[in-house]
């Protein structure tokens, strides 16, 4: 078999444009997913059922279904059922951000629960209100503890972005798979695609590991 690696060089600008879309999409999804996660977490922990119920529906609904389905649902069902037509890019961003929010919400919840009761008791004993305790004592510690888990979410989010290629958003996966159909250079393109994802993903995974060590909690 002859492999034609030179063709890759010609495709490089296209691939790099795809890389850019992948990175921006993942970044924006996480940027929305952190406040989104905090909101869902606050909703779930709320005393009021009007807030708990929708938060729980969103969290339990999205945690238990494939991201691919969520993406398709927003892309195909939303316009038909609710007459809402979003661009593929907006749909992709919304789906990823929602999905990541749900997982972030659970991470924040675990973080908050991991702060021992003694800490909030000490703060309450000083005369603080519940909101003050949460804002100045519990959340700062909980968020810090959430960092390693958030990093892991980021790593999987980054790879999950490849799913958006299914609704024609021109991310790295999409442009690479397009190139493959156009050029029939399956081995070269898929190998290059693997290498590029790995080169981006590996440092992130390592960074997540080091954050894990750095923010490890010893009690």
């Amino acid at each position: 078999m002859n492999f034609d690696w030179s063709a890759l060089w010609e495709s490089l600008p296209v691939l790099l444009a795809g890389v850019q879309t992948t990175i921006v999409l993942a970044f924006l999804a996480m940027l929305l997913g952190i406040p989104g996660g905090l909101l869902l977490c606050a909703g779930r922990r709320s005393r009021f059922r009007v807030l708990t119920l929708p938060a729980c529906i969103v969290i339990d609904g999205l945690r238990a279904t494939p991201v691919l389905l969520q993406l398709f649902w927003l892309f195909y069902v939303l316009p038909l059922a609710f007459d809402v037509q979003l661009s593929p890019y907006a749909t992709a961003l919304l789906a990823l951000a929602l999905n990541v929010s749900v997982f972030n919400a659970e991470i924040f919840r675990a973080g908050i629960n991991s702060i021992q009761r003694g800490q909030s008791n000490a703060a309450l004993a000083l005369g603080m209100s519940g909101t003050q305790v949460m804002r100045t004592v519990v959340l700062p510690q909980a968020l810090r503890r959430s960092i390693p888990a958030l990093a892991n979410i980021w790593v999987s989010l980054f790879k999950n972005t490849a799913l958006v290629s299914t609704i024609a958003v021109a991310d790295l996966a999409y442009v690479a798979l397009q190139l493959r159909t156009e050029t029939y250079k399956t081995v070269e393109i898929l190998t290059a695609m693997a290498l590029i994802y790995w080169l981006m993903g590996y440092p992130q995974a390592k960074l997540a590991d080091s954050l894990q060590n750095r923010y490890q909690v010893n009690e």
Partner: protein, 260 residues
Amino acid sequence: MPREDDVLEFREVTKRFDQTNVLDRVDFRVCAGEVVCIVGPSGSGKSTLLRCANALEPIDSGTIVFNGRTVGRTKRKLYKVRQQMGMVFQNFELFPHLTVLQNIVLAPRIVKGETESVAVGRARNLLRRVGLDDFGNKYPGTLSGGQQQRVAIARALAMEPDIMLFDEPTSALDPERVGEVLAVMRDLANQGTTMVVVTHEMEFARSVADRVVFFDRGHIVESGTPERIFTNPQQERTRAFLSHHLSNVNGQRSFPGQAH
């Protein structure tokens, strides 16, 4: 009868966990400037008594009166009450993400709305008072247990409370660190601070307390001057507890053998 100078008063307070009465119709009062030490076996309800005083634990029946006002009527009033009661915990409970100084100024700043300079000024004085002048910028995790507990005392004092509640403040400490914390507490007592101290430190109770309360199974079994409780306890349960406890303590610390 309620007296003019009562700071804290429990009237027939009952607290249940599951079906057990942890506090069983407890009557208890502390007047201004008084140092009360509560001793008794583990699990007897001593800590619960303190935690009910500032409503960290809700009570099931009875009334708690603080500075002439009933505790826990509304949330806002409850916050006010807690501002005036300092509490020191067995496990210190310093906020690990804040420096020593930030730990001390946090509540005065956000609860009382004090200015930075006022709060920091007082915090520095308090740190000097507990012998930790140079520790303001350190994080709690880098301090020994005794140092952390002294910071915790300073943090409680920063709210300028009318009463200090100590919940076994030296129980989590290495034996060689106990003395430094007790010294700070002794100092507070000498300056007229109203204190309720749940403790197993009998020597401290004997030498510092105005009154010692022996607590067992949700009841105040006996209460009186340290002299009376330690040298001439009236109740069999008090005698049994003290003879056991004092003989244990005697091995490690010198303590004049007064138990029967």
